[in-house]
């Protein structure tokens, strides 16, 4: 963040990037010198990043650069990999999430996740969305649960397409619909942060456009971090972009600056297509 931005007074609403919060604002999540090891191999080296709650933050970089690994640190999904070891400090609202005091089940409810491949449960559409609220006890009655399911599906832009067939299997939907169902499932537990791990890589351009539109609509309500291979996508949906390369975070800044005026040569090379 450059100092001259702290004095901006007139936001330009049509440009997503223009709304610049004051520098001293507390970040939603912050990572400080996070490193990840798979056995002896270091997959992530000293990454420090701050994620704010009304912005979309994109992580870009070539395959194997550690961007997905970093994303999975943010809700401790790396816990499921026995050989993975995470060092450094990751905070959610100023509370350390890597400590044993942080309940991982609650953390994952507060920091939801959407995966690369659409992975609805092989259950009905209703059950897919209702599962999270049900296990967390978020509704006290059937009608309340119905309400949560409906509003989640509406926010995910799927309600009109599935309202007449909620009892059909979630796996019977098309790929794009399945991914939106997964987003509905994630927002049904009312998370504070949504992590998206290449959510469009298995989708066609039309479904991708719908998801991107959805990300725009969800911004402001949730802090969103998205990993993507697709640089145009990062430019379209995000306000902040972090470029990863070989396990290091090379550059992090406003999306417009990363794409138009990167500070690092490696970033320049990547976004101009010299490698990756």
């Amino acid at each position: 963040m450059t100092p001259n931005h702290s004095t901006i007074t007139l936001p330009k609403p049509e440009v997503a990037d223009a709304v610049e919060p004051p520098v001293e604002r507390n970040p939603k999540m912050s990572a400080e010198s996070v490193s990840v090891f798979y056995g002896d191999k270091q997959a992530l080296k000293d990454v420090s990043i701050k994620i704010y709650d009304d912005r979309v933050t994109a992580f870009i970089g070539p395959s194997g650069c550690g961007k997905s690994t970093f994303l999975r640190c943010l809700n401790r999904m790396n816990d499921t990999i026995p050989s993975a070891r995470v060092t450094g400090k990751i905070e959610l609202d100023g509370k350390d999430i890597t400590s044993t005091a942080m309940d991982v089940v609650q953390l994952r409810a507060r920091v939801g996740m959407v995966f690369q491949k659409p992975n609805p449960f092989p259950k009905s559409i209703f059950e897919n969305v209702a599962y999270g609220p049900r296990i967390h006890g978020l509704s006290s009655s059937k009608s309340e649960l119905d309400g949560i399911v409906e509003s989640s599906l509406k926010r995910a832009g799927l309600w009109d397409e599935v309202k007449d067939r909620l009892s059909e299997s979630g796996t019977a939907l098309s790929g794009g619909q399945q991914q939106r169902l997964c987003i509905a499932r994630a927002i049904a537990v009312d998370p504070e942060v949504i992590l998206m791990d290449e959510p469009c890589s298995a989708l066609d351009p039309i479904a991708t456009a719908k998801i991107e539109e959805l990300i725009h609509e969800l911004r402001g309500r949730y802090a969103i971090a998205i990993v993507t291979h697709n640089m145009q996508q990062a430019a379209r949906v995000s306000q902040r972009t972090a470029f990863f390369h070989l396990g290091e975070m090379v550059e992090y800044g406003k999306t417009s600056e990363i794409f138009t005026n990167p500070r690092e040569q490696r970033t320049q090379d990547y976004i101009t297509g010299r490698y990756g």
């Binding site: 994952r108 449960f121 092989p122 796996t171």
Partner: protein, 417 residues
Amino acid sequence: MNSAAPNRWTADAMRKRVRRRYSSERWFHAVGLGAVALSVLFLAFLLTTMAAKGFGGFTQYEARLPIDFARSDLFLDPATLRGPEAAQTVAGADIEGTLTKAASAAYGPQAAELFGDAAVNRLSSAIVANPDILKGQSTLWLPVSSKVDVAAKTKGDDKSEALVNALEQRQSLRRTFNTGFLTASDSTDPSAVGVWGALKGTFFTILVTMLLAFPIGVLAAVYLEEFAPRNRWTDMIEVSINNLAAVPSIIFGLLGLAVFLNTMNLTRSAPIVGGMTLALMTMPVIVIAGRNAIKTVPPSIRDAALGVGASKMQVTFHHVLPLALPGILTGTIIGMARALGETAPLLMIGMRAFVAAPPHGITDPATVLPVQIFLWSDEVDRGFVEKTSAAIIVLLLFMLAMNGLAIYLRNRFEQRW
């Protein structure tokens, strides 16, 4: 291809290679078809032999016998016959002598051995059911002895054949469905034997096996696959379980004998011990099948559930286990079918005893169908031959019914993704 020369697809060498590929494909096709045909042939042979020999066991020849109870030596008090001890009273009477006398009177002295235990049983229950027949003369159809039955069905000794001819000329012989075979238990007289006792014993034994092996096996599989840390101990346990599945069943019988009978002093010949022994044998099969089924559940489903904040336990029991259930059930069916047909371990724990009364619970002495078949096949009396085949048919039907049920259940639980 990086070589400078272009590939010549029409060259002779290339054509020959293609022809060779096609001919090897045809060969494989023919060999595979041959293997299938051969196994179908064997199966057909087995089933037809079984059916041809076994169906006789489900029928029984009966002879008409006029008895004049008033002139017989049968002295039974009509008052006791109406009381609760009627069956014991009749059992104490000389029913066999009465039959011998009546048969000799009706068909001559060579018919003295026309009737066996089955006829005695039938007449006894007829008297208990209706004591009034003792007052006068009546004509009854009674099952003939095993010797005569064999002579009537196939070829018996000369004396019996002559008797059969004589009876047939007087139209005093008929073939009926042998209900006794399904309702009676083991006996020394082949005309009176039945599979009911063995069937009940099998049912109780399998019940015990299932109740023990299924939950323990599935939970062990779930723990090993989902919760256990990956280390040397887990590896060792895995290897041990794989080895256990390959241990000959007789060894499990010895284990059951040593542990359940000699150390724990449980009842000999009881379905509970048999079931526990078979459970030891079946459990490794279920664990292995269960682990494989759990492994095939896509990790993305686990991620999805973890991602909305499900605990490890909820992931396992809400998602992984239901998705793995069809596979687990398949493994269980295979394990149960093997347990159902098992003889050797049960011989070791005393389930080969002669048990004439059907068991009423899991602690009563009992035998099971495969052991019963083994015992009958060992008998000298020719009457047991067709009973053995008939019992095999009953066992196969029992197995088919069980597998059918299991497959039905499996298909109901099956989910696709």
